[in-house]
């Protein structure tokens, strides 16, 4: 199946510890298995200490691309946090970019120490919609907390990605991959998180 655009540059962003690396590898593995060339670039040195982290997943039916996404060349931005979505849009956005965003904000420490202020939900949502071709915003953290599994936000987002139809991903194959990549006793929980994410975006 041809990709549009090709290479398809998926940016996955969030805060250290939210599990965006697992998410990018899941998507990478799935697209590789579907026959595409895939490169993932990550920088995760101090990833756990509250900083922003992101991976670029470059998918192509033509050839292997390097792991660094050129500026302004994002095809889709998946962000586990809305401020990070805006950061990615300012670097990688373009008139055709799409965005799938968890609307639950996490305040930087500079906000806690009252040196900066965090933008309002409304302002962030308006800017995300304005600067993208299409955007899906929903509270994935709330879904994960309802399931008593705050660390499953990334899997909720994966469900959301499948529902956007942006990539040729088969819902059942993705479910199998989710099951295979978590410990057996957490499989059901993650599958529920995945389905809830799918429903949230399909219904949005």
């Amino acid at each position: 199946m041809p990709l549009s655009p090709d290479p398809y540059n998926l940016i996955i962003s969030g805060i250290g510890g939210q599990g965006n690396i697992l998410l990018s590898r899941l998507v990478g593995r799935l697209m590789f298995r579907a026959g595409y060339q895939v490169s993932i670039g990550e920088t995760f040195g101090a990833a756990q200490r509250g900083g922003g982290v992101f991976s670029g997943v470059r998918i192509s039916s033509k050839r292997l691309y390097g792991p660094v996404v050129p500026q302004g060349a994002g095809s889709m931005i998946i962000s586990l946090e809305p401020l990070e979505a805006l950061r990615m849009i300012s670097g990688y956005g373009n008139p055709g970019v799409k965005a799938l965003v968890n609307s639950e904000g996490i305040h930087p420490v500079a906000v806690l120490s009252q040196k900066a202020s965090y933008p309002s939900d409304e302002a962030m949502s308006a800017a995300i919609h304005k600067a993208t071709d299409k955007a899906w915003l929903f509270n994935a953290t709330k879904i994960a907390l309802e399931l008593d599994a705050p660390i499953a936000v990334n899997i909720v987002m994966l469900g959301g990605l499948v529902a956007t139809g942006a990539l040729p991903l088969d819902a059942d194959e993705v479910a199998d991959e989710v099951k295979a990549s978590v410990p057996p006793h957490l499989a059901e929980l993650n599958l529920t998180a995945y389905r809830r994410g799918m429903q949230a975006v399909a219904g949005a």
């Binding site: 805060i15 590898r25 990478g28 593995r29 590789f32 060339q37 895939v38 490169s39 993932i40 670039g41 990550e42 920088t43 995760f44 040195g45 101090a46 756990q48 200490r49 509250g50 900083g51 922003g52 292997l64 691309y65 390097g66 792991p67 660094v68 050129p70 500026q71 302004g72 401020l83 990070e84 805006l86 950061r87 849009i89 300012s90 956005g93 373009n94 008139p95 996490i106 305040h107 930087p108 420490v109 500079a110 906000v111 806690l112 120490s113 009252q114 040196k115 900066a116 202020s117 965090y118 933008p119 302002a123 962030m124 308006a126 800017a127 304005k130 600067a131 953290t141 907390l145 705050p150």
Partner: protein, 635 residues
């Protein structure tokens, strides 16, 4: 993630570049693996430690990189295939041994040794972006560097062959965009069996009578250069009569290919890609450049390859060929090689317009998106013992009022100098240097120096390289307070074990060295405190700051992420009494202590906390001056 030895030959799997290096080593039959953690190299040793087998493969976290390379080199002299992995800073530490090892080689037993060094162009997770390629030239040793994940696997085998054939260790360079990139990798066969190790006592491997040995070494390098002329991983793609040849290595290769595609220059420009970094296969390079009117060199950080190419051209009477790159200003002198950089250099040379973002969109982003994007600085995790330690240190220094001077080093404690830290550390360089510099300052009394001197180090750093410096301080009778943040892990780089943790890279038990006993045995006065008892800790710090001699204060409390991994639950539940909380008037817990779980709620004007972030450590109970925060034990 399956252990990398579980993948069947012929199948393809998604591997991190560092795992690809490890798989290549397994496929070539590596026996003895050493290393010390450091981003971006840290995944190589654990990937191999998952596959160890008695008498076939050993993998260890060494105490530091010097011990790591010495162990690996020795195993190679006993006939084994060995590999040592570290970041660029680690290689700097190991250089003294390495420059001697070049002279002696690996002896007659047929062993081989790869020194894998991973650089961090752009310093994504490092204090510097030092380019270790110069060290190959400096140490007169061969260096190779892969361009893709799959090539990383094959190049490891090539490098082992080279090492074995020439009885020379080989540098294998990784870099962030290789080590931390994931690609599908096709698996090769895994060998069975292992060589038997023994030392040949009929020869002495030593660097003395060095003039002869230096000459032999230079001859060996020429033999290696001749081999590099034929290296199957060096390639030329492009027209027979190119208008320009791009010389690329490492990340430059894929960046160049993408830029040429974007600009539609593939029919006009050649791409000469090198996996052999040093020595340069001069004849092969000159052969491909002699008919090119101009050359562009694409590489990361320094102009290492560019300098070598220019030398080769001049030495071969081709000095008039125009060489673009860092020297000409087409590529910046620092930072990563990206497709954008390759694109702008090529567009400039060919007088083309580099594709840019739509103008109206650019305006929209600048006006409506960028102003909302505030920075997100790094900070200690919620529940981190270091936050409490530095909070106490700040209070102690203020109370002491003699302008105490704090030296520090690399580790999670380094977050102190980031915008959201407590800004206590004033002198910070390499591992172990906090102690070394404090020992220097602690001897300046005769020069009128009156400030108390305090050094801070982590427990992994303590074993890595603080110990000899502490001995120096005791021997030379410095006055200083050494604070050791004993958090039971090499936390910054991913919680690897070290000599004080009681386990090894293979996750087997090991003798546990006691930091306190080590310090006592070298003559330091030792005090132990719990950083979570912040007020008591502050008091102890004040007392020790005034005392003569080398005082050691061990602040013992496990890294929160290590504790959480084992315990899987939070010790306390927190409640904040909204009546007692003074809100913005006080805000000590959020504005001053800065636990990321606590914030002033604009709706109530009082402090609230985020349950998803709170680790239930309970320190804030002691921090709040109005007793507004209380804790209940979690069941």
């Amino acid at each position: 993630m399956a252990a990398i030895d579980k993948y069947e030959p012929g199948t393809s799997h998604f591997l991190l570049g560092n795992e690809a290096i490890a798989r290549g080593a397994l496929e070539r039959g590596v026996n003895f693996v050493t290393g010390y953690p450091g981003t971006p190299s840290s995944e190589i040793v654990p990937a191999l430690a998952q596959c160890t087998q008695k008498g076939k493969l050993h993998a260890e976290w060494s105490t530091n990189e010097l011990a790591a390379v010495e162990g690996a080199a020795a195993a190679a002299t006993a006939g084994l295939l060995s590999l040592s992995a570290m970041k660029n800073a680690g290689l700097s530490l190991a250089l003294d041994f390495i420059t001697h090892l070049s002279y002696t080689g690996l002896g007659p037993k047929g062993g081989a040794c790869l020194m894998v060094v991973c650089d961090d162009p752009h310093g994504h997770s490092s204090g510097d972006e030092t380019d270790s390629r110069w060290l190959a030239r400096f140490a007169t040793a061969p260096m190779v560097e892969p361009m893709t994940g799959q090539q990383a696997v094959e190049l490891v085998k090539y490098a082992f062959d080279l090492s074995q054939k020439h009885s020379a260790f080989v540098f294998y360079r990784g870099y962030t965009r290789l080590s931390h990139a994931s690609n599908p990798i096709t698996m090769g066969e895994l060998p069975t069996g292992a060589p038997k190790a023994s030392s040949d006592s009929s020869v002495s491997l030593n660097p003395y009578l060095s003039i002869d040995k230096h000459q032999d070494l230079l001859a060996k390098m020429e033999a290696i250069r001749a081999e590099f002329e034929q290296c199957p991983f060096n390639s030329y793609q492009g027209p027979e009569k190119p208008e320009l040849v791009v010389v690329a290595s490492g990340a430059g290769h894929l960046a160049a290919a993408e830029a040429l595609e974007t600009l539609g220059l593939e029919e006009r420009v050649g791409l000469l890609s090198l996996a052999t970094i040093w020595p340069l296969p001069t004849a092969w390079v000159v052969e491909h450049l002699k008919n090119a009117p101009q050359v562009l060199v694409l590489e990361e950080v320094d102009l290492f390859m560019e300098a070598a190419v220019k030398e080769a051209l001049v030495d071969n009477g081709l000095g008039s060929v125009a060489v673009y790159g860092k020297g000409s200003g087409h590529i910046p002198m620092s930072g990563e090689m990206t497709p954008d950089r390759a694109l702008s250099a090529l567009a400039r040379i060919f007088d083309m317009k580099a594709p840019a973002r739509d103008e109206a969109y650019e305006r929209l982003v600048q006006q409506e998106v960028a102003p909302l994007v505030i920075s997100r600085g790094l900070s200690w995790c919620a529940g981190c013992p270091h936050r409490a330690s530095f909070w106490a240190l700040d209070k102690a220094i203020k109370a002491d009022a003699r302008d105490a001077y704090v030296t520090g080093e690399i580790g999670c404690s380094t977050l102190d100098v980031f915008p959201e830290g407590k800004a206590q550390i004033k002198l910070l360089h390499s591992m172990g240097s906090g102690t070394g510099t404090a020992a220097g300052l602690g001897q300046l009394k005769p020069f009128g120096y009156t400030q108390p001197v305090v050094a801070v180090c982590g427990d992994s750093s303590f074993f890595h390289s603080s110990v000899p410096r502490l001995i120096n301080a005791v021997y030379n009778q410095a006055d200083m307070l050494q604070i050791i943040l004993d958090n039971s892990a090499t936390a910054m780089t991913g919680f690897q074990p070290h000599p004080g943790t009681g386990n090894t890279a293979e996750n087997t038990p090991a003798p546990r060295l006691d930091v306190a006993k080590v310090c006592e045995s070298i003559g330091c006065q030792v005090t132990i405190a719990d950083p979570f008892e912040v007020r008591a800790t502050t008091k102890v710090m004040r007392e020790l700051m005034g005392k003569p001699g080398v005082q050691v204060l061990i602040l013992r409390r496990a890294c929160e992420l290590v504790r959480m991994k084992a315990a899987k639950s939070h010790p306390y539940r927190i409640t904040i009494d909204q009546e007692k909380c003074k809100g913005a008037e006080c805000a000590v817990c959020s504005r001053d202590f800065r636990c990321p779980a606590l914030y002033l709620d604009p709706a109530t004007g009082k402090t609230a906390f985020k349950e998803q972030i709170c680790s239930g450590c309970g320190i804030c109970v002691e921090i709040c001056p109005f007793k507004a925060i209380s804790k209940q034990e979690n069941d």
